[in-house]
């Protein structure tokens, strides 16, 4: 791997003085009940004490097996009698399709894209995730703010800015990180579509003219961001290179504990058995 390590390091977290137009803010926010439910600030017009469901996040890079695991978990939870709602990136009614178009045209700059993703995220929070959590539903989130923060940070947007953007995101009850090596992820992703997409390979970042190295370097940078966030936000790290059934078992054990489900026994129905390898 010749110049894989030469890439620019992601900007360090600095304790800088705020920009002039920012009015003085308290050094540490006063003890705020909102912090229990949100990362920083309460969401306008929402009472978090109404939450009766659980928010379970599965994070991991492209090719880490998130979607497969979510499909299986949904079946397991439904067989246990729980109502399940899923969420994921670019699925909002408000801007989901607009982001698809922006990505296809690839005429968009990093900050605009980051803000469109934030719009997509909060639209889903307000119209899909919160209503579900209020009615006692289990929400399985295929990626969450961590992917979005990581993608912004590796593109040179300040970490504080990115996490400030998501200050009103709900704190998940559980956050799993399916950790895989970029090399493994490359093979899995390639097999899916017989190609690697422009964005998966981070081609907008001009890391390498070789598609393979561009993918590896980009995903390595994202992975480093995940390592930083994993410590800070108590991710439950799982080996995403283990078999589907092994990963699924570990997920079920931890979720069962959270939801008070006694048995974690599960074999997929015939409709989903093709995923079980």
């Amino acid at each position: 791997m010749p110049d894989q390590e030469k890439e620019k390091p992601a900007p360090a977290v600095t304790t800088e003085t705020p920009a002039p137009p920012i009015p003085s803010k308290p050094a540490s926010p006063p003890e705020d009940p909102g912090q229990q439910y949100f990362f920083g600030e309460p969401l306008v017009g929402f009472d978090p004490s109404e939450i009766t469901g659980s928010l379970i996040v599965i994070e991991g890079m492209d090719g880490s097996g998130r979607s497969t695991q979510i499909t299986l978990l949904q079946e397991w939870l439904e067989s246990e009698g729980f109502a399940v709602q899923t969420s994921g990136l670019r699925r909002s009614n408000l801007v989901g399709r607009d982001i698809d178009e922006l990505l296809a045209k690839n005429a968009v700059t990093r900050l605009t894209l980051a803000l469109m993703y934030a719009t997509d995220f909060f639209d889903q929070v307000e119209h899909r995730i919160l209503p579900a959590l209020r009615s006692g539903t289990i929400v399985l989130a295929d990626r969450y703010i961590f992917t979005l923060i990581g993608r912004g940070v590796v593109r040179g947007i300040n970490r504080d800015y990115m996490s400030g953007l998501y200050a009103m995101a709900l704190r998940p009850h559980l956050t799993f990180w399916l950790n895989v090596r970029p090399e493994t992820a490359f093979g899995r992703e390639f097999r899916k579509a017989q190609a690697i997409s422009y964005w998966e390979a981070g081609r907008d970042m001009s890391l390498s003219h070789d598609l393979y190295w561009s993918f590896i370097r980009y995903q390595t940078m994202i992975k480093r961001e995940f390592e930083v966030m994993a410590k800070k936000h108590n991710f439950i790290e799982l080996d995403g290179e283990a078999s589907v059934s092994t990963v699924n078992k570990l997920l079920r054990q931890r979720i069962a504990e959270q939801l008070g489900i006694r048995s974690t026994k599960y074999t997929p129905s015939s409709a989903l058995s093709y995923l079980w390898r």
């Binding site: 800088e16 003085t17 705020p18 920009a19 002039p20 137009p21 920012i22 009015p23 803010k25 920083g40 600030e41 969401l43 306008v44 017009g45 009614n93 408000l94 801007v95 607009d98 922006l102 005429a107 968009v108 700059t109 990093r110 900050l111 605009t112 980051a114 803000l115 469109m116 934030a118 719009t119 909060f122 639209d123 307000e126 119209h127 040179g156 947007i157 300040n158 970490r159 504080d160 800015y161 400030g164 953007l165 200050a167 009103m168």
Partner: protein, 253 residues
Amino acid sequence: METQDLVLKPARTEPAKSTLPQPGRPVPSRAYPGALIVVEGTDGSGKSTQLYLLKRWLEIGGYRLHFTEWNSSPLVKSATRRGKQRRLLTPTTFSLLHAADFADRCERQIMPLLQGDYLVLADRYIYTAFARDTARGCSPRWLRNLYRFAPVPDITFYFRAPLDVAVNRILSGRPKLKYYEAGMDLGMSYDRAESFRLFQARILEEYDKMVETDNFVVLDGTMPVNKLQKQMRDIVASKIDLKRFAPRAEAAE
């Protein structure tokens, strides 16, 4: 080699570090050669008319300038329209969508032009978002972070008109107020005109708070148009070295 002769020497050398504000980093004030003039104020305060006249004055003088308007990026337009038509927007997504729109104009127009030695005129700027979105209940701290990438204007004109004057100007000229424009999403009143009035009062209050903190140049929106314009032009001429933006010698040929 022949090709070397074709390489033009740039008029200015590229600085080692970007001179533009980066999200979340201190803004290097005036680190770029261009200048930014902004107008702010409630609906009906007369700001757009005044900026139009200022623009005409500068255009006729041949100055290099670019005019940009709030909420006008084609990239984000369809999403904003859909969100408004179907009333999908909440205070948070309303705010984020406008920020995305602004970021697009900022990254693709405002910033490159400021670096390229242009005079940029903006009809509404980040202070519109601060006033409106705070009036909608968004956290001011969150909002200030959201727009940290925006260059600080060289002049921010704040057109101040008493609530009744501004509201009546809008109500008499525009028979039907739009849902979000009237602040109907806040549920303050079922009557659109009344809701609009209450919403504008809140916005006015937020603008007034920023006069000191954000160095607004306050102008009286009730003055006769031509007198107000004279004031505006005098201030621009005194605060900005307009010669820098005058037509380049070769352009005159």
